[in-house]
Symmetry: C2
């Protein structure tokens, strides 16, 4: 490392440690993280604390998946020399900032947050929303600002969380009279969310419609075989629909040969191209994409001690950075300091 | 210190650092803290983090009063060799436990807490309750359990906060399958709350009806002179009322000579005892009580470096204790640990 100041934009992102990652994560975020890790200063948070906000009954699941997600990161090509991978619950400054920020946000503001409203509905919490869940946008604001992140990749449905963060940033900057915290920008991915192999909107392990990053060749074959296409496209000679056809959605996401893909689409629309042929194309692509990931993942999984060392080192770096933000903010607010 | 295990009951108590303490604090809590500090293992929390839950707009006030309250503690006879005095915001484990516990409490449970309901009304928050304020019973549960306190002195109106704490304790003990956290008992003081000198229910600096622990002899004289008695007791020869008569309420709290006090009450009720005479008794008692406190307080205030050292040492001890609770609980829940 040279001693010159790092002026790259700072990305904070990460994953709740509730399960190993899958192809949907790869298309939606992992791929771009690998692409951005040199041009950006990138921090990846293994978000075990946040995972507990709706998994408090099953902390064992949250624990178990910390290393699983770390294996996934390294397997897809996250380079720990470029990207800092760290464990959320090992960064006390995040909890301290969360508690501080909670005083600057009203309960009714949290209840109005559209992302939270939707998520509360999805989880069927109704009146029994855990307080930690209602407050998690504030915890997220603590994460983002603690790392002084300027860019936060989020799905479109999560953009209100960045707005909530920036409200807190402005509120605190106004109070201390200078820009001590940095506003962050949402980076909405160009690629939409990858549907499940069954055509449902979301790929998810619990729905059984996901292709995991460690999928075996047979599992990939099987998943592609089961993949939802155009149900009205009964014979190869029939004209077929591209829209809502999962095989083509996946080809859009993973086929690098644009000319070939346009050609396939045209032939499929016109009639004369069977599902089996298109699926074979997709399967070849997915097998080629996942083979090296699966192999690297197996190598890391065989050496958990090495991966733990990476997490320890990253967490130490993250701790320095987040503690510095907390100390600066406390001083600017004029809070008491013992040291 | 001997190396034998300390089996004394553990008290956690403290004060929000929003202003210097006054005679009401002395009668309601400080006096009994001094009396209990040998028979109990006592921790006093300078609650600056909690003070911010309704003073986020004025952190400077919260900071300034950390040392003021510490001076008050030492002035009344809290012995730092017996009692651990520590700074809440310098104990990150409290924030971490708060965040963890928030996942085990529903928003509606917090909204139903009678203490919080009343306090929200008192503060005129209405719909704009800061999230930190709604969550402060959970932060208090974190404080109590982190110190493994078994006894928590609280006013009667705050007993629901201990109930909330014990709910969290039972919830977590059930989840980990053993009594990892300790239930606490509320210790309701025998002496009721001391009214203000104007007869209003609460002595409070902001109401201008308080006698501060650093009050000068003249301020004490003046406060007793202004003190609310029986407004129908116009001449010394008239019969007077004891009930609601602030002078007698204070005598009940501070006069150690029970016989003399009964005698005064009888003569006052019967008629023939003037307010001036009773007030002179009370003034003598208060002057005698406050003179050594005022002097000791001035000595400590002249040596803030010494007091800071006491806080540093106490906070270090408290940090060890609270970190140990957090680590144990994390391990019992099966959360990921990097070290």
């Amino acid at each position: 490392m040279s001693s010159s100041i790092d002026t790259r934009p700072v990305i904070l992102t990460g994953d709740r440690t509730t399960g190993p990652l899958h192809l949907g994560h790869y298309a939606g975020s992992l791929k771009s993280r690998v692409a951005l890790q040199r041009s950006h200063r990138q921090f990846l948070l293994l978000a075990d604390t946040q995972a507990l906000t709706d998994n408090a009954h099953d902390p064992e699941k949250v624990r178990r998946n910390v290393l699983e997600v770390a294996f996934d990161y390294l397997a897809v090509g996250i380079d720990p020399l470029e990207t800092t991978i760290c464990l959320q619950s090992a960064l006390p400054a995040l909890a301290e900032l969360t508690l501080l920020y909670l005083n600057f946000v009203t309960v009714s503001r949290l209840e109005r947050n559209p992302t939270i409203k939707t998520e509360i509905q999805l989880r069927g919490f109704e009146r029994d929303v855990p307080a930690g869940f209602l407050c998690y946008p504030v915890a997220q604001a603590a994460d983002i600002t603690a790392f002084r992140a300027t860019v936060v990749p989020v799905g479109e449905d999560q953009a209100p969380l960045i707005e909530q963060t920036n409200e807190i940033v402005r509120r605190l900057n106004r109070q201390v009279g200078r820009d001590i915290l940095v506003e962050a920008e949402a980076m909405i991915p160009a690629v939409g969310r990858l549907p499940g192999v069954d055509g449902k909107a979301k790929m998810s392990k619990s729905q059984g419609n996901a292709i995991s990053l460690s999928a075996s060749p047979d599992e990939i074959t099987d998943a592609v075989r089961r993949m939802y296409t155009d149900p009205t496209h009964l014979r190869a000679s029939d004209p077929g629909k591209i829209e809502g056809n999962v095989v083509f959605t996946y080809l859009d996401a993973f086929c690098d040969d644009g000319q070939l893909l346009e050609d396939l689409k045209e032939r499929y629309r016109r009639g004369g191209l069977g599902d089996i042929t298109v699926k074979r194309h997709l399967e070849d692509i997915l097998q080629a994409l996942l083979a090296p990931i699966r192999e690297r993942r197996a190598r890391y999984a065989a050496e958990p001690g090495y991966v733990l060392d990476i997490l320890r080192e990253g967490t130490l770096k993250a701790r320095e950075r987040t503690e510095a933000t907390l100390a600066e903010l406390r001083a600017a607010l004029g809070l008491f300091t013992l040291t």
